[in-house]
Symmetry: C2
Subunit: 192 residues, 2 copies
């Protein structure tokens, strides 16, 4: 999606350690006009695919998912990060490894909010090593619902999450895939 | 706001300890059609008040703030919960007491995302003891910006946050104010 790539080039900040800061428009301050264009693009890419529910994960996926849901007219459910392992039997739960924070956290979704008959579109801001997306796919799988696909804003194409999850048959639509980036140099996007 | 009060009566679950569960439409699963009506109502109530930025706090304020921002055409910034006290000089930071979780957490907003010249509308899902809202007012105050007001979905009117913050001169518009609630009994809303 050209609009998003242009915005990343203009306002994204590449730091050593494969860090891309996009807090000025994506995941701290949020440009809702841009989110609307992203939502429209997700709807275009997933046209014809049945979607009954959008699932995301707190915190930075929520804004994108809520705005995008307006183009699908379905409710949004966000997976909650839980501090304790004491998840009651009323929730689907799984563990997600965070390489950024070098820790593992538990996420949960109440069982009542994903039904076996759902066709779920997962939306998130970033896809890098794929652990968060894998966790969401696991939660949806526990419910017996179908994963319709995943809509991602920015994929770090040089990390293996995207290829690993596509190999498992998940349809992933990333609006901007970065093939390489380095502080002080131009970001190289796939297909550009 | 009648629509929200009706929805709370229909789908809210009152538990002992003044707990109101609204996860089926407000803060776990999110009804975006309802959020749009709430956004429209915030815009009606704050008509004529200059708003240049909306500030909320992760995680459950984000969806409401993003949808509401479409009626104000301003960017949204969410305060991040931070695990460490090691906030760099690049952020406004404060501590928030959580009575629900019996803990204190730090929240921060990067200095670049609130300017001295801003007129900030704070949006959140709940107002009870007022600690989260007080923290957000503090963050905005640190920047030198003006707090235009606070738009709250549900205020627990029997807790003192609303009256304490109104006494400080903050204009608070809560879409549903609960005067009393008890498991198994009708919820009593203010002005109804």
């Amino acid at each position: 999606m050209q609009l998003l790539k242009d915005r990343i080039r203009k306002d994204g900040i590449v730091l050593p350690g494969n860090i891309l800061k996009v807090g000025s428009f994506l995941n701290h301050q949020m440009d809702i006009g841009l989110f609307n264009e992203m939502g429209r693009e997700f709807a275009r890419r997933f046209a014809g695919v049945p979607v009954t529910r959008i699932v995301t994960i707190e915190a930075s996926g929520i804004g994108i998912a809520c705005i995008a849901s307006q183009y699908f007219s379905v409710p949004v459910v966000f997976a909650k990060k839980s501090k304790s392992k004491n998840i009651s039997g009323e929730a689907f739960a799984t563990s997600v490894k965070s390489y950024t924070h070098n820790t593992t956290y538990d996420v949960m979704i109440s069982k009542e909010f994903i039904r076996k008959t759902d066709s779920v579109l997962i939306i998130d801001d970033f896809l890098a090593n794929g652990c968060a997306l894998e966790g969401l796919v696991d939660l949806v799988g526990q419910s017996g619902a179908r994963v319709a696909g995943a809509g991602i804003a920015i994929e770090k194409g040089f990390q293996d999450g995207g290829s690993r999850l596509r190999a498992k048959g998940i349809r992933i639509e990333s609006l901007a895939i970065i093939d390489s980036m380095e502080a002080g140099k131009d970001i190289v996007f796939r297909d550009s």
